[in-house]
């Protein structure tokens, strides 16, 4: 488990501890212990688990969210709730006389207050989520499945793209969308020369660049290895080809720097475009587009070349070779 966010939450951590300490010291300090016979163990289990689970929720909030308004409100609300839950729990083993009996009368008030704060927090969270959705727009379609996100590029994986193509095929008859497959030329050679960590970094940066060149409705996923796959809804072959060509140009002009010096490496893409036809199946479509890419790469067989580091003034090398392929 990654606990690195915990270090940023000193204040919220103390709020939680304070709620825990205050509720326990108040309720234990002011009461008298009941005899064993008076204790209802069923109640202890019930109320104890409420207290324990709210503590667990606070913990997961702290380890999964960066600090900010929403996080503070969520933790504050839960801490109030925790306060009441603790009073309730200790109530089972302690009895209160005169002045202290007020404590059991007011014990539900913090919980109500906590619920109010939580409701506010959830509303804020909703708004935050809308903003985040917008940030993720081109990485994500109508479905969220975090376990299908690729580790290196933070794009969704091929599996996710399959479900998206599936639903695009099922929802529109006849289907009107195009699929593009992109592949970096001689990525293996780059890896051999500059190391795999640089290769991973290159993939990450290229995926950002691909996203930048997409329209708001498009979706980009990592397919496998150095291969990406794009889904263009309501797009014909010519438009898809045009956008893919723009991505190719954009990437050919990026001066990637594998070392701390200003020396740069330029990259070429190959791509293939396919449009869905009626009665298409996801696997067939993917198979067609990847076969087409393969054929294209074989036709324009690139010799294995040493990457020459060129200073950025020289500009991209080898821009002339044309990298699109279609029917």
């Amino acid at each position: 488990m990654n606990l690195s966010l915990l270090a940023h939450h000193q204040r919220l951590f103390s709020v939680t501890c304070a709620s825990l300490a205050l509720s326990l010291s108040l309720s234990i300090g002011l009461g008298e212990a009941k005899t064993i016979a008076e204790i209802s163990w069923l109640d202890i289990i019930g109320e104890g688990s409420v207290a324990l689970l709210s503590l667990l929720w606070i913990f997961f909030l702290l380890v999964s969210r960066p600090p900010g308004r929403v996080t503070s409100a969520l933790v504050l609300g839960l801490s109030c709730f925790l306060f009441s839950a603790n009073l309730d729990l200790v109530d089972e083993v302690m009895s209160y006389h005169n002045a202290a009996s007020v404590l059991s009368m007011i014990e539900s008030i913090p919980a109500a207050l906590g619920m109010l704060i939580m409701s506010y927090a959830l509303y804020q969270w909703h708004k935050e989520q809308l903003v985040l959705n917008k940030q993720l727009q081109k990485r994500e379609s109508a479905l969220r499945e975090h376990h299908q996100v690729d580790f290196i590029t933070a794009l969704y994986s091929a599996e996710y793209m399959r479900t998206q193509i599936d639903s695009a095929l099922n929802n529109n008859q006849p289907p009107e969308f195009s699929v593009v497959m992109l592949d970096i030329d001689d990525f293996d050679g780059f890896n051999r020369q500059f190391g795999h960590d640089q290769g991973d970094r290159l993939l990450r940066e290229l995926s950002d660049l691909i996203l930048m060149n997409l329209r708001a409705t498009d979706l980009a996923c990592r397919y496998a290895g150095d291969r990406f796959i794009l889904l263009f809804p309501n797009t014909d072959l010519a438009t898809a080809e045009k956008i893919a060509g723009q991505i190719k140009t954009a990437i050919a002009n990026i001066a990637f720097k594998p070392s701390p010096s200003a020396e740069s490496v330029y990259h070429q893409l190959s791509f293939a475009v396919e449009t869905a036809i009626s009665g298409d199946a996801t696997e067939n479509l993917l198979h067609r587009v990847s076969r087409r890419l393969e054929k294209f790469k074989q036709r324009t067989k690139q010799p294995i070349h040493q990457y020459t580091l060129s200073s950025s003034a020289n500009g991209p090398n080898g821009l002339k070779h044309d990298g699109n392929s279609h029917g």
Binding site: F151, E159, G225, S290
Partner: protein, 337 residues
Amino acid sequence: MAESDFYSIDDKVIPAYQLAASILDFCRSRGVNKHKLLRGTGIFDEDLVSDKTLSCQQLLQLMKNAESLTPGHDCTFLLGKRLFPGSYGAISNALMHTRNLTDGFRILASNRSQICPFLDLKHYSSQQHHYVLITDAIGSQEQFKFIAELYCTALVSSVKLILGQRIPFEFNFPFPRPKYIQEYEVHLGHRLNFSQPTMSIRLQKKWLDTFGLNPSDRLKHHALRQCKQALMPKKGFVEAVRWTLGKHAEYGLQNVAEQFSMSPATFKRKLKQHGYHFQQIHDEVGKQQAIYLLQMQQLSNEETAHLMQFSDIPNFRRSVKRWTGLTPSQLRMTIHN
């Protein structure tokens, strides 16, 4: 006796800086906790920078951990790409200077246990095709798929590096088609068949003459001389048993144990340690022969039965069906031309 040149699953014969170091390196780049990765392997961090050797068992456990701890399905494929040329020293040098693919396969065959201790490779030719028949050499069991993906990717990427072009290998895998088929297609190509009776690689013979990019007999021989200094036995234990049975189909457990200078009880225990029964290996040898004769050589039932020393055809058909799940004629048809 004759059969002493083999390594068992727990013999520490594999240099740690090869596969184990690659796996550790890869898992580090994927943010995997090193202690979790090494758990249960008996491998220590410092082993990887020393001349320490590891056993197949240790590596199999390490693969298992790596598979479950790394995100996604590309672990084996990316590892395969990293194996060559980095991990193999002199062998890599020899391979880099081969004249052509045949030459490369020859070096691979004579140094196979150093390059790939887990798999037993047998090369065959028919009129049109070259076949590499692949079986488990040491008892990989549930890691077989991991190993198959790893070394097939290593083969494709190293051949591309040595020859400067992609050779259209056709892969036959014994396991069903996985969901992450895209990794296979990108790293191995589109000639893929799954749920086959045995694992094999096929290519058209004309590709065997493809020239290497940097052929040099002098550098190659120098490198091969260095390879000879490595003291790695040639065969895995399971592979060695299979080999003995292949030579003497009539041998029972007693005879084979004798060949290995063991008592039948010790021999049985040793087989069990590798996850096998004697009968299982016996059947596998029959299966391999049937596949070779029927599928690759396209011989008739009568010829095959005769060569495999079956006295009657119905019995032969029954055995083939039991070994491969297919009748002899179905098996002959499984080759797609």
